[in-house]
Symmetry: C2
């Protein structure tokens, strides 16, 4: 009886380990903690009338972690570990000035050529406003299908502004 008990415990432990190793958290894009201290790559403002206004209207800033920055500066392929943040804020127009308003979304591209091999090696996610609520349901259809046009730039739209 004791042996059977030990055997059962071992089986449960192995099952849990296997579950943890294949848990979905391993294949989802991480929240880019600390990105506000990363290097600012560039900024763009999309206004009413722009084809992408509904999805991305406002002021967006691009930030890159150190690994991604190397690729931006050398025009080489982004290495695994590269993370790019697309920080989208409301544009507040007033008295001939456009200021930053509330955060709409924190978009993230995370490079891992094994985890995300079906989307050019990039994982895509969006976090709602200032929360960690995930908003991308289908990274191929909602993100990669458009980034495909940038295949020659390793699927990245932005370029580093010196």
């Amino acid at each position: 009886m004791k042996k059977q008990y030990i055997f059962a415990v071992v089986v449960i432990c192995l099952t849990l380990t296997a579950f943890l190793l294949t848990d979905s958290s391993d294949t989802i894009v991480k929240y880019p903690t600390g990105y506000r201290n990363w290097t600012h790559v560039k900024t763009l403002v999309l206004e009413k009338g722009h084809p992408l206004y509904e999805a991305f209207g406002g002021i967006h800033h691009i930030y890159a972690n150190k690994i991604a920055l190397e690729a931006y500066k050398s025009n080489k392929k982004f290495k695994d570990g590269s993370v790019i943040v697309f920080d989208l804020l409301e544009a507040v127009n007033s008295d001939n000035a456009i200021a930053e308003g509330s955060r709409k979304v924190v978009g993230v591209m995370e490079k891992d050529s094994k985890k995300f091999k079906d989307t050019g090696g990039w994982g895509f996610e969006g976090f709602n406003g200032d929360t960690k609520e995930r908003i991308v349901k289908n990274m191929y259809g909602e993100c990669f299908s458009c980034h495909l046009s940038q295949k020659n730039n390793d699927y990245v739209f932005s370029q580093y502004r010196k």
Copy 2:
């Protein structure tokens, strides 16, 4: 004769040393080397019709070094060694988007309460476009007189955007 020669050389060396120690480079604002990797504080776009358009029209980004960032985040006084950069770029309006164009000026505020005691402890300078050509002739009249309005914020206009 030999002694007189050595004496003359010593005098020349001492004079040169004294000159270097009191050279104006000690009291001018340094070019903020590496600022593009500093933390991006905030962005503002000034358009035609804004009262400051002539001087500061375009997209400007504020960057802070680590010492300045501490003050931005804590709302305390900026410590000596704080450096804030005002990076002003042309705004390129096209197809309902506003993109970053050429650099107009790299404005700098450098905190040193002893060197710059007549201007609130801040040294002010502007570097023309992508050059190191200095453009501020009178930091009190051209810069500080306007920053005086922000005395309660240690003479700094910008606030850190989270």
